[in-house]
Symmetry: C2
Subunit: 486 residues, 2 copies
């Protein structure tokens, strides 16, 4: 130790010794992508970014940071929407004297470790990109059940840490339900090897379910064993339009009764959402009835390649039409048409981002209350912010509504207090959801963006329980500070 | 307080004030069924049995016991196999001076609170019998996914506390996967109301997954909201026989690939198991090939009432026969035959209990290793205890093998150290499972019977994490002492 070295220099040198100098980023330009969320809304700060290549390196980094009293922010693809992977933000939440966190980005830990098609399991490092896991499963004639917009860049570790949802939850469940086993580096740097590939294990508390969804606040997920499913061999994709939510809900309930386990997707979009997508993807054509207030993208899948899903879908649509629940419907006649239906759904994020300031929310309510929730939330938001329009995209089978008050860029720029307005709009939507027994976070997590809402909307006893667990596992609170807990 | 009342008298009087005198049992004869497990193997002791009728009564009992420093054993149908609901046993685990626990039996809290067929959810009190939940779902054209032998007497609270499995896990998951929300009385008597019916909720740590499977060591589950599923409208049940486990595993894997989500049951039985069942149910006839080393009960279900599952099953069996994987097979031609197939499976528990001393185990290994596990475990057990025979019944799709070294009553009585022998046999089987990455507890839980095995077979770091959680939520360790933790 030289006279001139600060504690920060000493930590940096240790991290360089652990992962190699080229894998510790400190240059402002290099660090920038790791301290900003992908939408560019939140700009944090970090002491450095460390890029470990192995669980042992992660453990050494965690131990070294713990010894130095420096906090850690684990990061995967950095595609989250609630700032859970953004370090040191908001700045005023961190005391000026505390050193900025170390970002622990796991992208170099991206190996597929084992695929077991007989046992229907795959073991991967946390930095594997979701699409690579999907592809590895497919190469073994199996299927990984999670699909979402960011699948080309989000990583499995982040998926697990945030219990990511997506469009396949209705059939396969959220990421949590895929997790058979985990490897986690604990806050003291010990490695918990819980990488079991068992379909059932009742030997004590379900630790994997505690780490899943904990957003890096209890340790760093370094590897996982995930469920695989038989690969679908038949698809049928349809586009439905309806006059109101009540009709769409009846379509959902009847379709579930008729073909239950075959429903792989049931996504609701409103007319405003479709207008925005069409505006930003000019060559896009809607499969049916562009003036309909609501549309639904419905997909059936089956592992039986002989299954005649088209005939089944026709029978379903016939019943729904006869019951007066549909305005119109179209079935994709081939894989090109199927892709074009999905292009509408997948175009949403980019289109909304270009279009204006969408104050996206991630509400879930009991499925039966989706219509009433939308009606009340729309009325309350528009009464106070009449310049907004209501954009809706929902995983309807999960009761999960992305209720998005959308402001034009001009209207948004004209608002005097933008950050406060964003909080106020979201709070209004969350309050309506809470009245219906709903949640303010269905699939995106809490991060720091919604930490205040967790404290505000959940019973003090519930958050106190979470704090007791946090304290029991991370007594110095150095793991991803400011996330989940405000 | 009179001079003559002991602290125990004072507690009893308080409990009588809370639930009514007739619902506090102290008479030895009355208490007996609540301090003995249903197989009659473990005989504990209790200060009394309290039978509350409401969550508020449970909370008051918990607070009163906490104040008196008396431990609590929550109890449902008392149908468990690992002694998790037996109070005060083994006696030597409790200091002579400590008062015996209070048994908190929830059978009077047996109301169906709400059924939501649109949202596919049911809310029930913890004392509801599983079969009543199944029936309530069916009355609303829905299906509850858990089926097990004790369903006529086990209770939902116990199912959740032990994360009960059964024959439907391959399709619907364990009890844990059904739990959308919980109400729990915490060790300090506060009531956590987490009775949400949301399909998705990512607002902080998944507390419901911590209480599910915690066997009453973290609090008392008083109510639950559970997932429902569309009701199956078509069934096909088949009886397969095969020469060896490898062939049965290939049958399973091919059937999964072909018809994935339709497989509702895939149960393996060996010849010895079938001999015992036939011996004890003389009028029972096997559907095919009584001399086959292995048989499998396979059931497909479908929510589509038009599904031609018989034709599908015939196609599958044709492929399996052509591949040389089957000895023989039979398809149930009608519901009476289907019932007779199931009668074989459901006759197992009673038949084994009558037949001798079955040292049942509850192992799970990765599915691909089931055959090797059975081979090695059989060889090791028979080498040391040649008087035993190996009885097998397995939920094969889950890799969950009830590997049962069976001793005749006479052979068992002749053993000098029976309790030690039982432990030694089980430990041998568990060791083999552990070599294959398996667990000693797949669906029955830990209780006190396997608490030593948890400490022995799991990494110290893993059990230390569990203890930290236990300490954080139950700092006086008065909730179901001696269970899970030895």
């Amino acid at each position: 130790v030289t006279e001139t070295s600060s504690p920060g220099d000493s930590l940096l040198q240790s991290l360089r010794d652990i992962v190699g100098a080229q894998y510790v980023l400190t240059d402002t330009h290099d660090v920038q992508p790791y301290v900003t969320d992908w939408r560019g809304r939140y700009h944090g700060k970090a002491s450095c970014v460390a890029l470990p290549q192995s669980t042992e390196e992660v453990a050494r980094i965690v131990r070294r940071c713990a010894a130095a009293g420096v906090s850690l922010v684990p990061q995967g693809g950095n595609t989250g929407l609630v700032g859970a992977a953004v370090p040191g933000y908001p700045q005023d939440a961190h005391s000026a004297s505390a050193p900025a966190p170390v970002v622990l980005n796991l992208r170099r830990m991206n190996r597929i470790l084992h695929v077991d098609p007989v046992g229907n399991a795959i073991t991967v490092e946390a930095g594997c990109i979701l699409a690579h896991v999907q592809n590895a499963a497919e190469r073994h004639d199996r299927y990984y059940g999670v699909s979402l917009g960011a699948e080309g860049s989000c990583q499995i570790g982040g998926n697990i840490a945030t219990n990511a949802g997506g469009t396949g939850v209705i059939k396969y469940g959220s990421t949590r339900e895929q997790v058979l086993g985990l490897e986690v580096v604990l806050p003291d740097g010990q490695i918990w090897n819980g990488l079991r590939s068992l379909r059932k294990d009742n030997a004590g508390y379900a630790l994997r379910h505690l780490f899943a969804g904990s957003e890096g606040t209890l340790g760093v997920i370094t590897a996982a064993t995930l469920k695989l499913h038989p690969r679908p061999r038949a698809w049928c994709t349809a586009w439905l339009t309806a006059d109101n939510i009540a009709h769409v809900l009846q379509c959902l309930a009847r379709t579930q009764s008729l073909v239950g386990e075959r429903i792989a997707t049931f996504e609701l979009l409103n007319r405003r959402q479709l207008e925005i997508v069409r505006h930003h993807i000019p060559d896009l054509r809607l499969p049916a009835d562009p003036e309909a207030p609501y549309a639904a993208l419905v997909e059936l899948t089956d592992t039986d390649g002989h299954a005649r899903l088209d005939a089944l879908m026709e029978r379903i649509l016939g019943e729904l039409l006869a019951a007066g629940l549909l305005r119109d419907a179209a079935i994709a006649a081939n894989s090109a048409q199927r892709a074009s239906f999905w292009r509408i759904r997948h175009g949403i994020s980019e289109a909304n981002r270009s279009h204006g300031m969408g104050l996206s929310t991630d509400v879930a309510v009991p499925v039966a209350h989706v219509g009433a929730f939308i009606e009340e939330a729309s009325a309350e938001v528009l009464a106070e912010w009449p310049q907004a329009s209501i954009v809706l995209v929902a995983h309807l089978g999960d009761g999960n509504v992305h209720f998005i008050p959308m402001f034009s860029h001009a209207d948004w720029a004209a608002l005097p207090k933008r950050e406060e307005t964003a909080d106020a709009v979201r709070a209004r939507v969350h309050d309506v959801a809470a009245r219906f027994g709903g949640t303010f976070s269905a699939e995106h997590g809490v991060g720091f963006v919604l930490a205040g809402e967790l404290a505000r909307l959940r019973a003090p006893l519930e958050t106190a329980l979470m704090r007791r667990i946090k304290q029991a596992l991370d007594e110095t609170w150095l793991q991803n500070p400011g996330k989940i807990f405000s």
